[in-house]
Amino acid sequence: MIINHPLLGPRDSAEFTYKGDANLINRPDPETASPQDWHDYAYLRDNPAGPHRELWFHDGGDRSWLVVTRNTLTHEITAVELARDVARAEGRSK
């Protein structure tokens, strides 16, 4: 499997480590989150048969975190973005 790194070009997936559902970016605000929010964030994941957004860490390369959109049925990768760009676009970081 090849992951097309947005900055470095195509790299073998062996250079990367899977880090879970991309929804982990959306950590609840500690100031306002309820215990239920934390429970949902920590334990609940969707398990789609189809496109899935997930975090991959380029530990065998530049140590970037990526958000990879992968089809869990075919393993086709349709989008690769830098996690920081995704987080900023969602207003997670100023």
């Binding site: 070009g9 065998g60 970037s64 830098l82």
Partner: protein, 188 residues
């Protein structure tokens, strides 16, 4: 004052030099390193200050700026590893801080890394055994971070046919050196 003797990353009192066929692996100790990370909101100011310091735009992804007194390697978005001669830049972090001021966070890296220079014939054959980098496609000034012998290393290409610099974790200098020498003996 303490009377301590400096040791090279491999533990010797002088840099180790190994030659297999026409390729030489040199333990490079005359290198001061510091990492530069632009602070949030200061990315443009940091790049401008770096440009002034380097005399060229800071390197983009996959590239290095190879020059004196400072060389720079791209390490991530708005992050670089800068190197200079140890003899004149032992306090590289302080020197960079003076030049970049509050636009960047700077961390001394000199003693965190070991450096091996490969020079001579047969570099591509050796690097193909060591790491997934497509050495034959690299040109002078290309640099990337990759994995050699399970160690995260920078590979900096000075001349695709004659000179490559490998930066690896100093604590694993012996393992990295072993891997490089094993590959040299196998490939050459």
């Amino acid at each position: 004052m303490h009377d301590l003797s400096p040791l090279t990353p491999l533990g010797g009192t002088a840099p180790q030099i190994d030659t297999v066929a026409d390729l030489t692996c040199t333990e490079q100790c005359d290198l001061a390193l510091a990492s530069v990370a632009a602070r949030l909101g200061q990315e443009k100011a940091c790049a401008a200050a770096l440009q002034k310091l380097l005399g060229a735009a800071p390197p983009v992804a996959g590239k290095a700026h190879l020059a004196a007194p400072y060389s720079a390697v791209w390490a991530g978005p708005d992050q670089w590893m800068l190197g200079a001669d140890f003899a004149t830049h032992e306090d590289i972090a302080a020197q960079l801080k003076a030049a970049l001021k509050d636009t960047a966070s700077i961390t001394e890296q000199t003693d965190a890394w070991c450096c091996f220079d490969l020079s001579g014939e047969g570099i591509a054959a050796v690097m193909e055994l060591l790491c997934p980098v497509n050495m034959r496609a690299l040109a002078s000034g290309d640099a990337t971070r990759t994995t050699i012998h399970h160690l995260g290393c920078f590979v900096i290409c000075g001349d695709p046919n004659g000179f490559v610099r490998i930066l690896g974790p100093r604590a694993s200098a012996g393992s990295l050196h072993h891997a490089i020498l094993t590959a040299m003996r196998s490939a050459l």
